[in-house]
Symmetry: none
Subunit: 412 residues, 2 copies
């Protein structure tokens, strides 16, 4: 089944809101094996919406609209979609009664415009919206389906899950698309691609690389007549990727690097503490984003000033004087200090120049040292990162997490 | 000038990533008075991308593409856009040299595929990308402009700001749209709306409210023949909003709450330290997101374990036993301890249950205490926040920043 999505709303084109609904819908359709060929976003404009709908209805078997179903004058999707599908609307008494009782029970006046939300396709039906006043709408004609969903995510999501997905599942002849994401660290995108180039030539399952900050994801996607058959296609390819990339594969699907690190530390019964300067708490924040991180993470010190480095983590003032606060020596001292102060098995230290100010010819913006200390050794790595302050900070924590992950992987 | 946007990437259609770049671009174009009529999203598919580009080039004066400029086989935008615009590409020696030196200086091998990124339009030019390997591309023919931007937001944003906006400003002849955002804290959306309801009835400038986590933004937007005329329309309305909302107005435009806090602390010559438990470094991370925060922020302790609260911030073990780690008393002790350990003017303490685990009937998930200590007093506030772990942590830091801002505002 070929699908197209038409997102409706001037606020989308103006960038006042980000179209997260379209991503939610795309994911749900991929899981059902329905391929989205195109998504079109237009404003609250009759002529342009009508043109977009005519085109999408001609191209696709099923067309989804998002937004523009409410009671205000801007909300034109219901009428324009009915026009494009050639399906008249009728007033639905039951929905009308529900609207009257909804407003009556809240002591609100029911404006005439609110009753527009009680109109449904003569060929099709309403899709129940327990979280708002405007129901979704299903239009059915020979060979073409159109589904209109409201824009507020709290209404959109439940209608999609409870009404649309079951309907589409009952209509689809059975083909399913399943995906598995293999997450890879400590290896650049080009090298990953080079190692799996032959696998990427396959049609089913497909293998597609995505470069992220400091990591690479390989998405393995199969189409088949059943979930089991799709997974049987995916499994050997994932195994083959693992065989070729070894311990560079750190996790699967939605588990982020910090999640894998917390999981591995827990399995190895190791505890962790951090001593951060330029990342200012971002490393600890990422680790504590993971539910249950308190099992392994004891705490950290953000030693932003030099005095804090000395007083809270025991970095020698002479060391800072001799090598500068941004140096291999201080990164190592931060890692050792964090480990000792929190009495953890592992300590991580980061110091660098996040910018935009503070750079010098010898230590330009982007220079960062990351160090890891255990009972018997300390290791440090220096990098020069490109990008703005936020990029540099993210990359520094990514390197620290990667080093941490590699260390724990060796110990297990 | 009429614009259309073509976002390129199968991962967008599959919902694996949300198209935030398109929103960023929409905002920038609205500020320039360029109207986006339509946005089309297609996958990494030659035929469908070419069809979308042909259509958009026919409809609009300027067409933007986002994504698909990288070195991999999936990255087809450069070639397909050149085909659609009828503008051949040529190899740019300077960019080729830069790529070679970029890879060489990192000890990486330059694959042949990387050199695809050195091809630029024969009619047009490259748009400098200091944060990545693929430059943006500008195609110019009689009457039509096409601008190709890379997908990674850290590359996209700077090229848009530093190359595209100045170029478009130099080209645009006429009407301008200008906006000013008034940022408001410590006041709910309904109260804000009630106070400025009459201003929201105006057509030019328009006044529109946006509710964010723990704050409200009012966007004042005017259309006029010149920047000066638009700003003359905006200015009195902003003054009127300030007069009505007083000190609840904390900043304008893009300055976030943490930016305002750092600025106000600097103006008041006050220093800050943090003692965080459940937020795990997020508060310090938000503060150190602000360039130049080292002027006022000395550092923080993430006292995630109880032992860390005792050992690093001097919280009494008996206090934790008597009141629990999540309590007004411990929040206050974290604030006082941070202030004393870092010798700062102000200390902030946060302790709570971020979930999903760890809740009890008396202290359910979402309970958070935020405290602020100065030389002569300590104040705490308890809340129960709704939402998932990330929401609870964000709201707790928002409350702490708001309290901090209110305190400094009183002292100035």
């Amino acid at each position: 089944m070929k699908a197209e999505i038409v997102s409706v709303g001037t606020e989308l084109l103006l960038g006042q809101i980000v179209d997260t609904n379209a991503a939610t819908l795309g994911k749900a359709l991929a899981d059902l094996g329905i391929v989205v060929h195109r998504r079109v976003t237009v404003g609250d404009n009759h002529e342009r919406l009508l043109a977009a709908l005519h085109e999408s209805i001609a191209n696709a078997d099923v067309v989804f609209t998002i937004g523009g179903l409410g009671p205000t004058q801007d909300d034109i999707t219901r009428d324009v979609l009915a026009e494009a599908m050639g399906v008249p609307l009728r007033f639905d008494e039951a929905i009308g009664r529900r609207l009257r009782s909804f407003f009556g029970s809240r002591g609100l006046e029911l404006l005439e415009s609110q009753l527009r939300q009680a109109y449904v396709p003569t060929s099709g039906r309403a899709l129940d919206n327990p979280n708002g006043t405007a129901p979704g709408l299903l239009f059915e004609t020979e060979g073409k389906i159109a589904i209109a969903l409201p824009g507020p995510p709290g209404e959109f999501g439940p209608i999609l899950e409870n009404e649309v997905v079951p309907y589409l599942r009952s209509r689809s002849g059975g083909r399913t698309i399943r995906s598995r994401v293999v997450r890879i660290c400590s290896m650049g995108e080009a090298v990953v691609e080079d190692r799996v180039k032959d696998l990427m030539a396959s049609d089913n399952p497909t293998v597609a690389p995505y470069a992220k900050t400091g990591e690479v994801h390989l998405r393995v996607t199969a189409q088949a007549d059943s979930v089991e058959a799709a997974e049987a296609l995916i499994e050997p390819v994932v195994r083959e990727i693992e065989a070729r990339l070894g311990s560079h594969v750190y996790a699967y699907d939605d588990e982020p690097l910090e999640g894998a690190v917390v999981r591995m530390l827990r399995e190895a019964r190791l505890t962790l503490a951090t001593g951060e300067s330029c990342t200012g708490g971002l490393l600890a924040k990422r680790i504590t984003d993971v539910p249950g991180s308190s099992d392994v993470f004891l705490g950290g010190v953000i030693a932003y000033s030099n005095q804090a480095k000395v007083n809270l983590l025991g970095v020698a003032a002479e060391m800072i004087k001799a090598h500068g606060a941004v140096s291999r020596e201080v990164a190592e001292a931060l890692a050792v200090g964090a480990r000792l102060r929190f009495r953890s098995d592992i300590g991580v230290g980061i110091t660098g120049v996040a910018g935009p100010g503070g750079g010098t010819p010898e230590k330009p913006v982007g220079v960062v040292w990351q160090a890891i200390a255990t009972a018997d050794r300390v290791e440090a790595e220096g990098n020069v990162y490109a990008g703005i302050r936020a990029d540099i900070r993210t990359k520094a924590t990514q390197t620290a997490l990667t080093k941490l992950r590699d260390l724990v992987a060796q110990q297990v």
